[in-house]
């Protein structure tokens, strides 16, 4: 009985796997080419809890929330979209333990519709 209580006490003292909320900023590196449309897939071990756009929220499948994979997309028909290192979206995640993130460009276009292939960067913000 004493041994069982001792073991239970040890278990209670073990640090809990803490969850933490972080944001992941999604950047497209287009160089000098303006970015008119983009579609990016993000995969992670964390749970997706919310998606934020820059001017407008990007398109995404609501079924992706609470999961670890999401496809984000947006376009603009304005005549002078941004170029260079463009922040396209911010994804809020709930991490538990060590988390990896990966992004994949699915499609992108410059004004006029010519397809381009910007580099995609993810920047984790917040958390420990």
């Amino acid at each position: 009985m004493k041994a069982a209580l001792f073991v239970l006490g040890l278990i209670a003292l073990l640090p809990e796997q803490e969850s933490r909320f972080v944001a992941v900023e999604v950047y497209a590196e287009t160089g000098a080419v303006p970015l008119a449309a983009w579609q990016i897939e993000i995969r992670s071990d964390a749970k997706i809890v919310a998606v934020e756009g820059v001017k407008e929220p990007p398109y995404y499948d609501p079924a992706a929330l609470q999961g670890g994979r999401i496809i984000l997309a947006q376009f603009t028909t304005e005549p002078h979209p941004p170029a260079g290192r463009v922040l396209v979206a911010r994804v809020h995640m709930m991490e538990s333990g060590k988390t990896d993130y990966a992004a994949r460009l699915m499609a992108a276009a410059s004004p006029g519709g010519e397809r381009i292939a910007p580099r995609i960067d993810l920047v984790r913000v917040g958390g420990k």
């Binding site: 008119a36 983009w38 398109y59 997309a73 376009f75 028909t77 499609a107 519709g113």
Partner: protein, 141 residues
């Protein structure tokens, strides 16, 4: 030689290849005729019996053999056709956000848009179809 035909002469008579002298001797000599008859009998026994081959077997054997060339040519033609079809077929690429952007751009500029983009089936291509293209682009599968 004892006046009779030797073995070659006897067999020449049997086979019909004998000289007139050999034939004349055989006609007059009972011993030689008996030996020739023995040869004929032996030759008849050694001749293989006639085998009747069924007609359908003969037909199959004598029928012109099926050549592999037409089959190979047909297979090659099919492969070429498949290759050409793969090369020229319409793109099997799933729609993506660039399609939505392209349609939105044409609508904004007042340009015609292919009716195939009428995804909601309301008889016209408009902003709702652009939204639908964008939504379908991000659906998780």
């Amino acid at each position: 030689m004892d006046g009779h035909l030797d073995l070659l002469g006897l067999d020449a008579v049997r086979a019909g290849d004998a000289t007139p002298e050999q034939r004349a001797h055989a006609d007059q000599c009972a011993d030689c005729r008996a030996t020739i008859e023995g040869f004929r009998s032996l030759a008849a026994r050694l001749t293989p019996a006639r085998i009747d081959i069924p007609a359908d077997v003969s037909r199959r054997i004598l029928a012109p053999k099926r050549s592999w060339r037409p089959v190979t040519a047909a297979a090659a033609a099919i492969l070429v056709a498949i290759g050409v079809w793969i090369a020229v077929r319409p793109s099997a690429r799933p729609m993506d956000i660039v399609d939505a952007y392209a349609v939105a751009l044409r609508l904004r500029n007042g340009q015609s848009v292919e009716p195939t983009w009428d995804l909601n089936g309301d008889g016209k291509v408009d902003g709702r179809d652009v939204d639908e293209i964008a939504r379908r682009s991000v659906v998780l599968r």
